[in-house]
């Protein structure tokens, strides 16, 4: 009878270890699914696009007969996407940053207004981008605007706004209350505390939020479908239509010609590469900007 207790313990221990091994395996498998997804997408795109991946894809504009399989590239869409995304991100940031600062520095944490703003942002985040596209289209009709870079920028800015605001909101939430108190106790008012200390502390996080929103906006096709239009030229005015990479993919993929379909995948590879570059910049920037950040 004396030895019974250790036996049960040993049995229990074994069962616990087995249980842990099982769940560890399950979690590792999930992690591999994540990696596998990314790998599979990248490999498929690259493999499919290989025949069409030439330097001319990114240095030339579509020539006549491009969509029938003749020479040319998608420089128009690359430049157009960058024009659109820079404009939209700047505009979204212009609204999101003051809104988030107001939320944190001038509203009480659990106040009705703060909760309502956060809830609205969450709802806006969940709205599919085609709805933003349709909304932008309606606005355009109301103001008798044509599909243009400006309309595209406005619509994509709307898509980016909730992403940017909530990401920044979550970043600023992590600022320790004691840091604010320390700054207040030096005689700083809220504005000074926010601009000179809090934003400095969260700057790396804000950069990440901006680049995340950029990545999302860059790849969004539905919001620009009706609003930005498409053109085979490089856009030089806010009021002209603009080409974008997601639509370049969409149009080329719809083509019955295999050469053009291959170019659609090449365009997808270029878009993915752009997003990858943005992610890498975001990582390296946030690491470099963290020099003064306190933990």
């Amino acid at each position: 009878m004396k030895n019974a207790q250790p036996k049960i313990d040993a049995l229990h221990l074994k069962r616990r270890q087995r249980k842990e091994s099982f769940f560890k395996l399950l979690m590792a498998a999930s992690a591999f699914v994540v990696l596998g997804c990314l790998g599979l997408i990248l490999v498929t795109i690259l493999w499919k696009s290989l025949p069409a991946l030439k330097l001319s894809m990114i240095t030339r504009m579509p020539g006549s007969g491009y969509y029938l399989g003749k020479e040319g590239g998608i420089l128009n869409a690359i430049v157009g996407s960058l024009q659109l995304i820079l404009g939209a991100t700047f505009l979204a940031l212009f609204v999101a940053l003051p809104a988030v600062v107001f939320l944190h520095s001038y509203l009480q944490k659990k106040s009705f207004l703060a909760e309502t703003i956060r809830f609205s942002l969450d709802v806006l985040w969940g709205i599919p981008s085609i709805v933003y596209g349709a909304f932008g289209f309606l606005i355009m009709i109301t103001f008798k605007m044509r599909a243009s870079l400006l309309a595209g920028i406005l619509t994509v800015a709307m898509v980016e706004l909730p992403i940017l605001s909530r990401a920044m909101d979550e970043t600023i939430k992590l600022v320790p209350e004691e840091l604010k108190e320390a700054t207040y106790s030096l005689g700083a008012n809220r504005w000074q505390t926010t601009t000179r200390v809090i934003l400095r502390q969260v700057f790396p996080g804000l950069v990440t939020a901006v680049l995340m929103a950029m990545g999302r906006g860059l790849g969004d096709a539905a919001s620009v479908l009706f609003t930005a239009g498409y053109t085979d030229k490089i856009t030089t005015s806010l009021f002209q239509p603009v080409a974008t990479l997601p639509l370049a993919i969409f149009f080329q993929l719809n083509s019955p010609f295999p050469e053009v379909q291959q170019r659609a995948f090449a365009s997808a590879a270029i878009l993915t590469l752009l997003i990858l570059i943005i992610s890498l910049i975001s990582r390296s920037l946030s690491r470099r900007l963290s020099r003064h950040k306190i933990l």
């Binding site: 004691e178 108190e181 106790s185 700083a188 000179r196």
Partner: protein, 253 residues
């Protein structure tokens, strides 16, 4: 003592929602002395400290009644500029809270808020207050380094220097050595002892030995009430109230 004091607390009641945290506190803080507030955890020590520079304003659901008089002026009057009040009281928190910038910029932060822009003047102020906090010799060659790279004890002395640089009249310390190793604690204590010639210091602590080492006056708080206040030797050795006696002998903690 009364005539020399510039900081007086009258009938102070503080509520967090329905919960009354401070109950009818009346206290006159002696000038250029170290007043140590002792008491068990959760008795309202920190709240009392934060009520003095109106940091309680930043907490939600807090209601303050009564008066805190600085030079006869009630700091809870609605027309008071709260930043001016806070500037007069340097705060040392439990965990040193350096600002996300260089060592130099941490100390220069307050003077810059006050409008000091000339580089030479800032240089002088930074050196002066780092000296005063006993940190200058350790950091004079690395002023541009991030403050977060300092050891935790150095960070606390940096916070002291930063607080002194706004030229406060009163130093508030909220268990400022609780996160530090014994040697760093000793350094901070020595700085406080030397600073009391020029500053009125109010220190919250739960370490009785620290109270014995530093205090000129002791206030004992218990469940939000000020039980006893007087010169340190009296309160710490021959307390009048049985609750103070119980706390000092370790019967309640």
């Amino acid at each position: 003592m009364e005539g020399q004091s510039r900081l007086r607390i009258e009938k102070l009641n503080v509520y967090f929602g329905q919960n009354q945290v401070l109950k009818n506190i009346n206290l006159t803080i002696p000038e250029k002395k170290i007043t140590v507030v002792i008491g068990p955890s959760g008795c309202g020590k920190t709240t009392l400290l934060k009520s003095l520079n109106r940091l309680l304003d930043e907490q939600e659901g807090v209601r303050v009644e009564g008066r805190v008089l600085v030079d006869g002026q009630d700091i809870y009057q609605p027309d008071i500029d709260v930043t001016q009040i806070r500037k007069r009281m340097g705060l040392l928190s439990q965990k040193p809270q350096v600002l996300p910038m260089s060592i130099y910029d941490n100390v220069a932060f307050g003077p810059r808020l006050l409008g000091v822009k000339a580089r030479q003047e800032l240089d002088e102020l930074v050196e002066k207050y780092l000296q005063l906090a006993g940190l200058w010799d350790e950091v004079k060659h690395r002023l541009s380094e991030p403050a977060s790279r300092l050891s935790i004890g150095q960070q606390q002395r940096l916070c002291l220097a930063r607080g002194l640089a706004v030229e406060p009249e009163i130093i508030l310390g909220d268990e400022p050595t609780s996160a530090l190793d014994p040697q760093s604690s000793r350094n901070v204590e020595l700085q406080l002892l030397s600073l009391k010639q020029d500053y009125t210091i109010i220190l919250v602590t739960h370490i009785l030995r620290q109270a014995r080492r530093l205090a000129d006056y002791v206030a004992f708080l218990y469940f939000g009430e000020l039980i006893e206040f007087g010169p340190a030797p009296e309160v710490l050795t021959v307390p009048q109230d049985p609750r103070t006696r119980a706390y000092i002998t370790g019967e309640i903690s």
